[in-house]
């Protein structure tokens, strides 16, 4: 865990210490950007949304978690959940006010159509290929994958952020992961999915 507990930073910012606020930005900008990017797509207003999220943290910071002193990770988790929820809501507003989602879906469609071409991707393009692979997943799977694999949130925390049940999170994560593994299979030199056969056997 970080040197200074998140909850103390929050407390200090509530007292008006701008350094603490800067530290909070440093601590959360990466996961937030990642999360927002998943929801809105790589282009455009992701940074707007994250900036706005921090602005809200500045204007109206949430109450500290009551157990934060005894349990630093609870304090961290609580603020993380709050920030992700705010960011997520802003994204929804963003998507609602645009037909972005539609455009996104259309933009992704051609990639799906030629996804067989991924076996020829060379090493330098792996990163782009993984991104494209992620982009082919439905956004709810993508979001859960990012929150879990890259930001290390627990199922419980993800459930809190996204307003879903933990059971659903496990299911989304699993379907998303399997789907992604199938998309990326040519790149990783593995065979095609065994899921269907697995289903037949059992």
């Amino acid at each position: 865990m970080e040197a200074i507990p998140t909850a103390s930073l929050l407390e200090r910012w509530r007292d008006g210490e701008t350094d603490a606020f800067a530290a909070l930005i440093k601590r959360f900008e990466e996961p937030l950007l990642r999360h927002v990017r998943v929801l809105l797509g790589p282009d455009g207003s992701c940074e707007d949304v994250v900036q706005e999220t921090f602005l809200r943290l500045a204007q109206k910071p949430p109450a500290p978690h009551p157990d934060a002193n005894q349990n630093p990770s609870a304090g961290h988790g609580a603020l993380a959940a709050w920030l992700h929820r705010v960011a997520r809501n802003l994204c929804t507003d963003e998507m609602r006010s645009t037909s972005r989602r539609k455009q996104r879906e259309q933009a992704v469609a051609p990639a799906e159509a030629v996804s067989g071409g991924q076996s020829s991707v060379d090493g330098a393009d792996t990163r782009a290929a993984v991104r494209r692979g992620m982009d082919q997943l439905p956004s709810d799977q993508r979001e859960v994958l990012v929150l879990r694999l890259l930001d290390g949130h627990s199922y419980q925390e993800i459930a809190e952020i996204t307003g879903r049940k933990t059971g659903t999170i496990g299911w989304l994560l699993s379907t998303g992961l399997v789907a992604l593994s199938q998309i990326l299979a040519p790149m990783m030199g593995h065979t095609q999915s065994s899921q269907v056969r697995l289903g037949d056997v059992r």
Partner: protein, 1025 residues
């Protein structure tokens, strides 16, 4: 799409370190034995690794943004207090971005519309005219559709009509049996045809009231003048169901008291002195008298045929004249007369409802009250027979409600007759001179065939009931006819305003019924409570207490108009337990004798324990118990002392009466004592809801704690083990106490009420929540709201903060649905289709002056492009809301659902299961199962109405549409006018035909031959039908 293997989900959980011990060993074993799974595991691990290495980049905000943020932070830090109160703002950057987006969206939509672009409307007058002509076209289109697709009637006999015939048949048999028994009867051939005619013309009332049983049949003759004044019940027949002493056990204050009439006593009847009235006889007990001067006869000399029918409805008629226009009263009476019972019990009424009449069961909230009133007055008359009281009730009713036939009245078609005749009788009352002449008893056999007259009268009455008076408020009329919200012309009314409702009891009740393999009755199905039952699907706001959202998609318009379904959703802020203010709860626990049963005390104790799970050391809990008396058994105690609280709860021992008022008063005192700013103070009443000692009127109980209410103490009520059907007491208490009412009857319900919905029930986020949707008359031709029939508030009250509305708790979601009809040809002009507005106040907190609370208002436009963008990709929550609302409309036997298909509903419900979120949601699974169950129980058949009702409804719809057309500006073309009259004529003819067929079936079923002769059967034969 192949289904996802559960084993893969478990494998993922293991890889993610989220699996429990059992799952880990299961997967370990499976991996060892199954190479396919092992290969899958390898690939998943590799995928995780590649994602983490490739995508785990250190993304950061651009330096410029960081600087901006820090600048904001500095100024916020410097002037925190001002900025804290600044509106949750979008940065100017965001606003600019949004503007660009909206702009491009507008362009895009304009392009979409360009395909069927016609004219761009600019001038206002032309606009109105155009809207009117579109509305006209839509309305006429609806009529054309309706003509082509009449309502679906069942083939069942109008059971009420059959009852009439049976009753007549019984009377006939009774008379003949009496003849045989006494051996003094005059054979029919001894009476001339002429005499029979006379008798037919005058005897009917006697028949109707003589009834079939050999005892107690009483006919009264009374004075018209007195009846008219409403001071007397005058002439009517009654038979006590108890037999034996019959009607004589009841004392009537009318001019003639049946109790005074012994069998064989000659009855004096009035002679009206009008031409055409023949002296006749009246019947009492074992001797028959026919009373010529019964008003039905005397009224209209030329209507001797009509008078026979009166015999069927006889008893009722006199009542209807007590007040000017009380169809509901006369109906009750009528039913009594026709079925040898003087009062219409609730059970009978609901049976009628089940027979396909739209009213009987008191189908809708709008008419329930009336139905209740009707029952009351029927009972009042038959038991107390207090004319004054009845008149009072009627009067009250008429001042509150318009004097129009209601749904219930349709439930009793024959009630129509007396209604109809009542008017005629009234007219003649003026001229009547009362003479009393003794009537010499003469016995005759009676032959009655009411067929043609009945048809005439039923038809005339039915038409009368379809009529729309010039003063009628159309939406009200619609509600009275069908109990549903009508289609409103946006031109005439563009706003829907209603209070938020988070109750869900209606759904639970319907579910209980369905699980018992019964279709729930129409009454008590509230569409909004169905829709709001489910877990929220909208995103919770983080800044505001409430967030507004809209979603729209095409609806399946049955008549080819352009119909859309708009969902307006309100989602309350989620409050994590660590974010909420401390709770000071006072539990007021019913430990009366009735709580001994059905493990109610056990439920209470488990509920207390479950509640404690949601509380922590910040919170306090006090416990008051009450039976005949109230006492505090636990002072406000920190929840840290959990064991002490549980021990106190363990000590509950039930016994004694239920003095809820005392318990609540004590509870409120304790709560008010602990009230403080930033503390949520709540009284929680746990009871089986049957207050029986002390004050039992919830309004008075609330009055006694009113002062504490204003101190911000809320009241939650929790019904214990009462299956949701005895909920009025607790529900009204909670409504008045600014809290929620819930029910717990098993552990699942405890979990739902005190676990899942805990913060919603105990942590309020908004008070007096009102929603208003204003439709744009340029684009929306007509609209209707699904549900919220009894939550509607005046449009003008939306911004009147003194007007009370609903409370919404943390995490709640309120959904309202509207069906709207768009003008397809209209060019999109950039204005919204509708604007949804939301207004609320912050919840009361301790010590705060109520009047200081500011209201917040938000609004959201419904843009055409939003709907278009979402076409075919509605959210799962939207689809579920639509399916749920449609299910509720079916269960309500809503007039709007009559032409919908249950098969479609089933398919839509099944489609919900294709959504991943919904497929794993227990509540949705249950919904789908319930819909299937309802379909299997005959949901489709339940929509069918009897042919007469169906034809009546069709005619009503035409009349309604005609009136709407009249209200539009401009003139209707001659062709349209002709089409309209043709449609009306056709509908009238269909109605007449339906009545004829119904009568034919009924008379045959009752044993009348084609030529109007009653085929007398052995005793009991008719009963077997």
């Amino acid at each position: 799409m192949s289904t996802h293997h559960p084993l893969l989900e478990k494998l993922t959980a293991v890889l993610m370190n989220e699996a429990d011990e059992a799952t880990r060993s299961e997967i370990k074993a499976a991996l060892a034995s199954d190479p396919l799974l092992a290969a899958e595991e390898q690939r998943l691990r590799a995928t995780i690794a590649i994602v983490q290495t490739e995508l785990g980049d250190g993304a950061t905000l651009a330096p410029q943004r960081m600087d901006d943020l820090m600048e904001s932070a500095s100024s916020i830090s410097a002037a925190r207090s001002e900025l804290r109160t600044s509106p949750h703002g979008w940065s100017s950057l965001m606003r600019a971005a949004a503007a660009v987006v909206v702009l491009s969206g507008g362009v895009w939509t304009a392009l979409q519309f360009a395909d069927h672009t016609q004219v761009l409307i600019t001038d206002e007058a032309g606009q109105d005219e155009r809207i009117a002509s579109i509305a006209r076209a839509n309305l006429l289109g609806q009529l054309a559709f309706q003509q082509a697709n009449p309502r679906r009637p069942s083939n069942g006999i109008d059971a009420f009509v059959l009852g009439q015939y049976k009753s007549l048949a019984d009377q006939e048999r009774y008379l003949q049996l009496e003849d045989a028994h006494l051996g003094t009867g005059i054979a029919s051939d001894e009476v001339t045809e002429e005499e029979i005619e006379e008798v037919e013309g005058s005897v009917s009332l006697g028949l109707a009231v003589a009834e079939s049983a050999p005892v107690g049949g009483v006919v009264l003759t009374g004075k018209l003048g007195e009846v008219r004044k409403g001071s007397s019940l005058g002439r009517f027949g009654s038979r006590s169901a108890g037999g034996g002493g019959g009607g004589s056990s009841v004392t009537y204050p009318g001019p003639v008291a049946p109790g005074a009439l012994a069998p064989g006593t000659p009855v004096f009847s009035k002679k009206t002195g009008r031409p055409g009235n023949q002296p006749s006889r009246s019947s009492v007990g074992q001797t028959f008298y026919f009373s010529p001067s019964t008003p039905q006869v005397s009224v209209d000399p030329g209507a001797s045929k009509g008078s026979r029918v009166v015999g069927i409805g006889g008893g009722a008629e006199s009542r209807s004249r007590g007040s000017s226009d009380k169809a509901s009263v006369s109906k009750g009476r009528f039913y009594g007369a026709g079925n040898t019972s003087t009062s219409l019990t609730a059970e009978e009424a609901s049976r009628l409802g089940g027979l396909g009449y739209s009213g009987g069961g008191g189908a809708t909230q709008g008419s329930e009250r009336k139905s209740e009133l009707m029952r009351e007055s029927a009972v009042g008359r038959s038991l107390r027979n207090d004319g004054g009281i009845i008149a009072g009730k009627v009067k009250r009713s008429s001042s509150e409600r318009r004097e129009q036939p209601t749904m219930q009245e349709d439930g009793v078609q024959l009630g129509a007759h007396d209604f109809f005749l009542g008017d005629r009788a009234r007219k003649d009352d003026v001229e009547v001179q009362d003479h009393e002449v003794p009537v010499k008893p003469v016995r005759v056999p009676i032959r009655l065939d009411p067929f043609q007259d009945t048809v005439d009268l039923r038809y005339q009455d039915a038409r009368r009931r379809c009529g729309v008076g010039s003063n009628d408020h159309l939406p009200d009329l619609y509600q009275h006819w069908w109990g549903d919200n009508p289609w409103e012309l946006t031109y005439a009314d563009s706003q829907a305003t209603f209070a938020a409702d988070v109750d869900t009891a209606s759904y639970g009740l319907a579910r209980n019924r369905l699980l018992k393999d019964e279709l729930p009755g129409r009454a008590g199905i509230r569409t909004e409570e169905f829709v709001n039952y489910f877990r929220p699907d909208l995103l919770a706001p983080t800044n505001d207490a409430l967030a507004l959202s809209v979603e729209m998609a095409p609806s399946t318009g049955r008549d080819g108009t352009d119909r859309w379904l708009l969902r307006v959703g309100v989602r309350a802020k989620e409050i994590q337990s660590w974010e909420r203010d401390p709770l000071a709860l006072v539990m007021v626990v019913d430990i009366s004798g009735s709580m001994k049963h059905h493990d109610r005390m056990g439920i209470v104790k488990r509920a207390v324990a479950r509640m404690l799970d949601n509380l922590d050391a910040r919170d306090t809990l006090a416990i008051v118990t009450f039976n005949t008396e109230a006492k505090q058994i636990l002072p406000p105690t920190s929840v840290a002392a959990r064991d002490a609280i549980l021990a106190a709860a363990e000590a509950f021992t039930p016994g004694g009466g239920t003095n809820a008022a005392l318990g609540l008063q004590l509870g409120y005192e304790i709560a008010a004592h602990g009230a403080a700013p930033d503390v949520i103070s709540r009284v929680v009443l746990l009871s089986d809801g049957l207050a029986n000692t002390g004050e039992t009127d919830q309004n008075k109980i609330l009055e006694s704690v009113r002062g504490h209410l204003n101190q911000g103490v809320h009241l939650n009520t929790l019904g214990v083990g009462i299956e949701g059907h005895n909920d009025t007491f607790l529900e009204r208490l909670a409504d008045g106490g600014d809290g929620l009412c819930d029910f717990v009857d098993d552990d699942r319900a405890i979990q739902r009420a005190l676990g899942d919905r805990f913060s919603g029930a105990f942590v309020p986020v908004a008070d007096d929540v009102k929603i208003q949707v204003e439709f744009n008359g340029r684009q929306v031709v007509r609209w209707r709201q699904l549900g919220y029939e009894n939550r509607s508030i005046a449009d003008a009250s939306f911004r009147d903060d003194a007007v009370d509305a609903g409370e919404v708790g943390a995490g709640h979601q309120v959904t309202a649905l509207f069906e709207i009809e768009l003008d397809r040809g209209l060019v999109y002009d950039g204005t919204p289709l509708a604007t949804a507005r939301l207004r609320w106040k912050d919840p009361k907190v301790g010590g705060q002056d109520n009047s200081l609370r500011q209201a917040t208002e938000r609004s959201l436009p419904v843009m055409a492009q939003d709907a278009l963008a979402h076409q075919g990709s509605t959210t799962a929550g939207y689809r579920r809301a639509v399916v749920t609302a449609q299910f509720a409309e079916f269960l309500r036997r809503s007039v709007h659902a009559r032409s919908d298909s249950v098969t479609e509903l089933l398919r839509a419900a099944q489609d919900l299961m294709n959504d991943r979120e919904l497929a794993v949601d227990e509540d949705t699974q249950e919904l789908v199962a319930l819909i299937k169950r309802a379909a299997a129980l005959g949901l489709e058949e339940a929509q069918l109405s009897n042919p007469v009702q169906a034809a009546t409804d069709d005619l009503r719809e035409i009349e309604h549409v005609c009136r709407q057309l009249d209200s539009l500006p401009g003139r209707m073309g001659a062709g349209d006018r002709n089409r309209l009259s043709a449609a009306r004529r056709q509908a009238q003819e269909r109605l007449r035909q339906a009545i004829i067929e119904d009568e034919q079936r009924a008379r045959e079923a009752a044993g009348w031959s084609q030529d109007g002769i009653l085929v007398v059967q052995e005793q009991g034969a008719a009963d077997r039908r």
